[in-house]
Symmetry: C2
Subunit: 242 residues, 2 copies
C-alpha cells in the first residue's frame, strides 16, 4: 500500500475541519507560516486594512478573503502574501472566539452559522515562526522549557488610528535574555517581517515605558522565570481594540 | 518665439540646482509629490529601510537611490514609488543640513563635496500634499491664514526600533479644528497614505498622551491661534532619531 504525499499544513486544516484537532497549533506543520484570524463585517474591512497598513508591526496582514467577492470563505485576495489551496476559513481552525459588541460571547469549533455573505476574514502574522529560529540559534525562549504559552501583556502604546479603529493598543510577548545576547536575539528575529520582527523594547526601563508594571502578572499566557542577570525582552504579539 | 512645455517639478529642481531657489518648496509644483531627503552611509541603509517598513506613518519611504548601485546620485531604485527623470540628489534641493555624529554642523546649497560613492539617499513622504486637499474641502489649515510654517512638536511616542535605530520618536504637526469637523478632516487626509495619512491624535487628552505640554510652544514652525471651541489635531510630521 502506497502512502500519498501529504501537505502537513493541509493535514492540520483537515484535522481542524473534522474537529479532531482541538488544541493550539503551536509547533504544528513546521516550515509553514501560521496566522491569526479576524473576521469582520464588510463595512469595517477597509478601515481594518488601513489599520494594518499603518501598523505593520502589531498587524502584519498576510492576506484576506477577497474584497471583490465578499462573503466567499474559500478564496484569498490576489494581494495576499500567502497562498493556501483547499481551505474553508469557517472550519479550518481549532477554535473560534465569537465577539458581539466587543464582548466575548462564546467559543465554537466552527463559525458556519455565524458567517454571512457580508463577512471578510483577515489573516495576521504570528510569532510562532521566529521562535524556532531562536531555538536554532541556541536562544530557545524560556517558555519552551516549561511547555507553557509565552507570557503576554497589554501596554499603553497605541496603534496609529485608522478609520473606526481609533483606540487600539500594542500587546507584547516577553522572553527573558541576558543583556549580552540581546543584539543576537534582535538579529535573529529581524528578518521575520510579517511576523512582528525584532523586539520593540528590552530591559526594565523598556518595560516601564510600555506601561507594564509587574512582569510576573501577564494578562495572557503563563509567567516565566527571569533568572538573575537576565532582563525581559518584548516583542509585539498582537493588538487590543478598545 | 515658442516656449517649450515644461514640467513644473523639473523647473523647481533646476532652480535649486542653479541656486536660484533658496526658500522652502511648500506650494511649488502643485499636483506633484514633494519629499524629504535623508542621505546615509551604506552601512546604515538596510537598517533605515527596516525602520521605514516598520513605521510607515512617520517614515513613508517613497524611494531611494539604488542599493545595487550605491553612490549613484542620479538614479532611483526600481522599488521606488516615484519616478523622477533628470535629477541629481546632491544639488536639486534648495538647502541641505549637514550632520556629523548626530549634530547639525552646517547648511549648504549642495552636497557635492560631502557625497561619496558610499552614500544612499532616501526620499520620505511629506504632508504638504494633503494640506491642499484640506483647503479644497473648506478646511484650510490655520497656518495658511498667517503664511507661517505649521507648528511641530516632539513627542514621547517611540517608533518601532529597527537595527541601529533603537531610539527614535514621532514628531507631529498641529492644525486646530472644531470637534464636529474632526471626522471630515480624518476622511480627507486618510487617503494620503505615503504622506502620513490621517491624524494620530486629537483633543487635549490626545495632546497630553503624546507628551506635549504646551501647544503654544512648538519645537519647529510657528505657533498658531486655537480659537474658542477648537481643539488641536495632530498629524505625524516626521521623526527624531536620538
Amino acid at each position: 500500500m502506497t502512502q500519498l504525499p501529504t501537505n502537513p499544513a493541509h493535514e492540520v486544516r483537515l484535522r481542524c475541519r473534522t474537529s479532531i484537532l482541538r488544541t493550539t497549533t503551536s509547533g504544528l506543520a513546521p516550515g509553514h507560516i501560521q496566522a491569526n484570524l479576524l473576521i469582520l463585517p464588510s463595512a469595517a474591512a477597509s478601515h481594518f486594512r488601513s489599520l494594518c497598513a499603518r501598523n505593520p508591526v502589531p498587524c502584519p496582514l498576510l492576506g484576506s478573503t477577497p474584497l471583490t467577492a465578499i462573503g466567499n470563505p474559500k478564496l484569498l485576495d490576489d494581494a495576499s502574501l500567502i497562498t493556501t489551496p483547499d481551505f474553508d476559513i469557517r472550519t479550518d481552525l481549532p477554535l473560534y472566539n465569537i465577539y458581539r459588541d466587543g464582548r466575548l460571547v462564546g467559543q465554537k469549533r466552527d463559525v458556519c452559522e455565524e458567517w454571512t455573505d457580508d463577512h471578510v476574514a483577515f489573516l495576521i502574522g504570528c510569532s510562532f515562526s521566529f521562535e524556532a529560529a531562536l531555538e536554532r540559534a541556541g536562544l530557545a525562549p524560556r517558555h519552551w522549557e516549561t511547555g507553557g504559552n509565552v507570557p503576554m501583556y497589554k501596554t499603553r502604546r497605541r496603534l496609529n488610528p485608522a478609520g473606526i479603529f481609533t483606540d487600539s493598543y500594542y500587546v507584547v510577548s516577553m522572553r527573558p535574555y541576558r543583556p549580552e545576547d540581546i543584539e543576537r536575539v534582535r538579529d535573529v528575529t529581524r528578518p521575520f517581517e510579517g511576523m512582528h520582527g525584532e523586539p520593540i523594547a528590552w530591559g526594565w526601563d523598556g518595560m516601564r515605558e510600555l506601561g507594564i508594571e509587574n512582569v510576573g502578572r501577564p494578562e495572557f499566557g503563563e509567567r516565566v522565570h527571569i533568572r538573575e542577570g537576565e532582563v525581559p525582552v518584548f516583542w509585539v504579539s498582537a493588538f487590543e481594540i478598545c
